[in-house]
Each structure stands twice: as C-alpha cells, then as structure tokens.
Amino acid sequence: MGFCVNIRDGGMGNTFQDAGRLGFRHQGMPASGFLDAPLAHCANALVGNPANATCVEMRVLGPTLFVTSGALRVAIAGQAQPVITRANSLQQPLLPWHSATLFEGDALRVGAIQNGCAYLSIAGGALLPEAMGSQSTYVRVAVGGLNGRALTTGDSFDGPANPVDVSTRELQSTQPFEWPAGPVRVIAGPQSDHFTADALDALVGTMWTTTAEQDRMGVRLSGQRLTHLTAAHADITSDGIAPGTIQVPGNGLPIVLLADCHTVGGYPKIATVITADLPRMAHMPPGTSFQFQLVDHAQAARALQATDALLTTWVGQLKTYSPPGFLDEKALYGQNLVSGFLRADPLG
C-alpha cells in the first residue's frame, strides 16, 4: 500500500465524508456527505483529486496524524493553523490552501478549526470500504468512514497502492476560498401555510443566532419564536425532509437541517435554505448571527451558478510551488544544470 497513517489524536468532530450516500433515502438512510461540498472541492483540487474525493471533514478540533510508512500528499481548505513535525523533529506550518507531502515518521497536528468546518484532503484518497455506494461516515448507525465512527485515537488507515506521484511540485492558492457574506437565502415551504403571516415576516425580518445545539444533523437557532396558525399546525403527518429544510417544532424555534438529517420528519417546515447557501450553515459556530432572505427558484438557480463560477475561478488560480527541501529535478534539468541540489527558500 502507498502509506499507512496512525491517528495519534482523533481530535473532535472529524469524519471521513464524500458527496454523500444517494439512492437509499427510501430505506430511511440519510444522505450524509460534505456539509460544505465546494470547500471540500478546494481541498481536493489542491492535491489533484477529483472534486468529490473523500476528505476528512473537521469541525471542532482537527486530528493529529502520524505517518507510519510511505508518503502522502495532503492539503487543508479552511481556517486552521496546522503544524507538521518532521521525522527529524523540525517543525513547519502547513499553511491552509497549500499542499504538502508527509513522509514516514512525520506528524501533522491540525489543531482547532476556526469557523466551524474545514477539510483535509489526501491525494489518491484513503482505503476505506464503501457502504451503500459511499465512504461518508454516518456515526448514528456506525456506517461508512473509518470503522463507522469519527476519527478515533489509535485507529489507522492505509492509502492506495498507487497514490499521486509525490515527486511533483506542490500546489498553492494565493487566496482563501471564502463564502460571500449576506443573508442566507431560502425558498418558502413546503409547509409555510402552517404559520401566521407574522411568523413569515419574522423569519426574514429578524436576526437569528446559532446555538450550541448543532451537529451534522442540524442547527438549532434562537431568536423570535415563530407562531403556528394553531397548536394543531405544529405537527404534520411525517413526510420527506432534506438538508436545508427549516423545521419549526411547537416551541417556535427553528432547526436548520443538515447533511445527516433523517429522511422523514413530523414538524412543519416553514422554508428551505437553497443549495448555494447551505454550505454556509456549516460555518456558524454557536453565537453566530445572521438573517434569512426569501428567494424564488430562478434566483436560487442564479445563485448556484454564481457559486459554481466562484469555485471555478478559485481552482483556476492554483499555482505550483516548491517547498523547502524540494528537489525540483524537472526545473534543474530544464536549466541544464549538471546535478540536483536542495532548495532552501523559506516556506510561504
């Protein structure tokens, strides 16, 4: 195999995810998958992976990984301050938005994730079994990922036999990928008619704050309580739900559902966050204030095109770079130098 990695410290809230487990929601199986797929796409682009290759999604405290054999190329998209400790004890920062290659005996300590969600990509991916067509971890029933659970101290994973050629140059971005600010856009429904006109006004006209009650299933919000038309309108015959739907139980406080949400639910759903803006909900640590804005399908489609264009532009500006100690044979021979030497310019 290409490499073997031991998880020295599982950290907190770190799971392998990919584009999700589609085609099984009629069996009650949630979709799971990336909370912020475009950000995962950035991490994958930095190591030359396909856009939806499996990444480690990191939410609170990133893991510490130790390379027990082989070499692997990694990159982090998101806000963190990871440090590589080389086998010879030399410490180097792994700058976010830069790829780096880890060799046998190296350790990568990711540390705290600063705004709710970041991705660690691995060139060529990790060797994980597929469950129902996906490697995404769904912790609740121990399906997918590494042993069906979050990254756990002491667990190990291997890389494929033919990983990406680590002798090629690294990739970097000169700028982070950032989501634009502004209200989170929603489409009304499917049960907006279960609420008073005042509730609909309050949904888009008042500020909402994320609470500490949040995980991959959803985020509870605090703010003005939304009133159902009658007490009976606070329950519905359970029907389909989706990531992005805003459920409002009897207490009037909304819950925005995320990737691991169930497939059906019995609370009325006042509105649903559009695909373009849903990734932003993963970057709202407790206490984040924001507003909702009502849009229609045409606006949602334009917003999605704009998001995709933003991502394409970002991926397009990636450049190769040579980290310290990198032996750039191609450039050397290109310049007709007699033999290789080690570059020693400082990183970044």
Binding site: R25, A242, T245
Partner: protein, 249 residues
C-alpha cells in the same frame, strides 16, 4: 380521502414533495406507492433525469434531485402529470410472514396494553396477529418501517416517558401503528414483543433495509427458543429473508 388535485410543494431548490392527501389514509398511501413506482419508471426510461432519491411516505412522495441538472426546471411539471395519473399498484410488491416472540422478556409493555383494553396478554397477541399490516412509510432511522393499522382494540398512546434505550429487534405499537426497532435507540412506543430477522443489514448490499413502503406484513408467534435460534449470527442474510417472504412481484 385524497385531494382532487395533487399539491406540489417546493422543498428548496433540490426537492419537491407531491402531496396526494391531508393525512394517513390507505387509499392515498396506495396511490403514493403507485406514484413512486411511476416516477421510478420515468427515471429508468430516461424521461425524467437528475433525480437522486424517491421517498414515498404516508400521503406524499418526496423527490430529491440535482439542482445543477439541466432538466431540474422541468421536474415539477413532470411530477404534476405523473401525480394526476397516479393509481394504486394492482398488488402489494411483497408480502412478508415474519416470526414474532411475545415472551415477557421482550414484551415489557404487553401486560399494560392488554390491561388498557381488558384483555389477557394472550388475547391481545391474538388480536395483533389477526391483522395484516402495511408499510406506510420508511424513516426515523435506517430500516425503520411505520406499519399500520393495528386493530382498534389494541390502540394505545405512546409512553408518557420514552425509554432512553429500546433494544434492537423490539416490536412496538403506538396509536394504531406498529414498528420494529432496527437499532438500539431512544423510543416511546409500547414494546409488545420482538422480531429476530434484522430489519437493516449492510450485507444485503442492494437493499440493506428489509422493508420498503408498500410491503404487506403478517406475523406468527414463536417461542423464545426459536427466537434465539433465528437470531444466531452466521446465517446467510438473503436466504434468511427469503424464508419469510410469502409473495413478491
């Protein structure tokens, strides 16, 4: 009774819910199964593309799709046309005859349910076994089937204090519904027995869930010894399922 005109409800830009009626009703539910099947046919024939999941529930069908797909804007009109034409399937897709054990170790609430209706536990079991159930919807957790309708004479509310841990395989009733817990989980339904065949098994790759919405389910009584034999791991899961499948289209 269903609506005279299906309701098309937007769930963001990546799903539509087609609602055929206001509440739980066997005819509405049967039409939902017919609609889900016709949507699946339209996807298979290429007439409808971009669809990633079709989820029939009690009185509606939710269709999840890729909002980036070029045909996404045409999905609602397609769904509306299919919904207007939806008819119940002519027969249940599958009929199961499953073993159920009502031994007191698996049935902590059986006595209370029987007492509520002035029945002996044996009479309550006989009532339960007398009625074929239908899977109205899947959900709550992977493999969890909402089955109805249990006899009026066994109707019971949920527990006032839900259990924090319901053992997997528990057979439970609430209102006029029945369910089998696939996993250890919290739950407020009344536990009246247990069913030994796993209702979610990743070894059955094409269909880890035992049930699908629209299935018909009957139960027969087994003793605790038979339960333990059937529960033993190591049996081929597909063969085990086939043993209790009475009829399949």
């Amino acid at each position: 009774m269903g609506y005279s005109e299906p309701k098309l409800l937007a769930m963001g830009d990546a799903a539509w819910t087609v609602e055929l009626g206001p509440d739980i009703d066997i005819d509405v539910n049967a039409r939902c199964m017919g609609l889900a099947a016709s949507i699946a046919d339209a996807v298979a024939s290429g007439e409808l593309s971009g669809v990633v999941d079709i989820v029939p529930t009690f009185r509606s069908v939710t269709v999840h799709f890729d909002p980036r797909h070029s045909s996404a804007p045409t999905i609602p009109s397609h769904l509306q046309a299919l919904a207007r034409a939806a008819t119940p399937p002519t027969a249940a897709r599958r009929t199961w005859r499953l073993p159920a054990c009502f031994d007191s170790r698996y049935a902590p609430d059986l006595q209370a349910v029987a007492d509520r209706h002035n029945l002996s536990p044996e009479a309550a079991i006989a009532q339960f076994l007398s009625t074929p159930l239908r899977v109205y919807a899947m959900g709550f957790m992977p493999g969890f089937a909402y089955m109805a309708s249990t006899p009026e004479g066994l109707a019971c509310p949920r527990l006032t204090t839900p259990r924090t841990q319901v053992p997997p395989k528990s057979l439970a009733i609430a209102g006029r519904m029945a369910a089998i817990y696939p996993w250890m989980s919290p739950g407020g339904w009344n536990l009246i027995g247990a069913m030994p065949i796993p209702t979610f098994d990743l070894q059955v790759r094409a269909s880890p869930a035992l049930f699908e919405a629209g299935d018909v389910v009957t139960f027969f009584e087994i003793d605790a010894g038979t339960f333990q034999t059937l529960e033993k791991p190591g049996r081929d899961p597909i063969a085990l399922r086939r043993e209790f499948l009475v009829d399949s289209l």
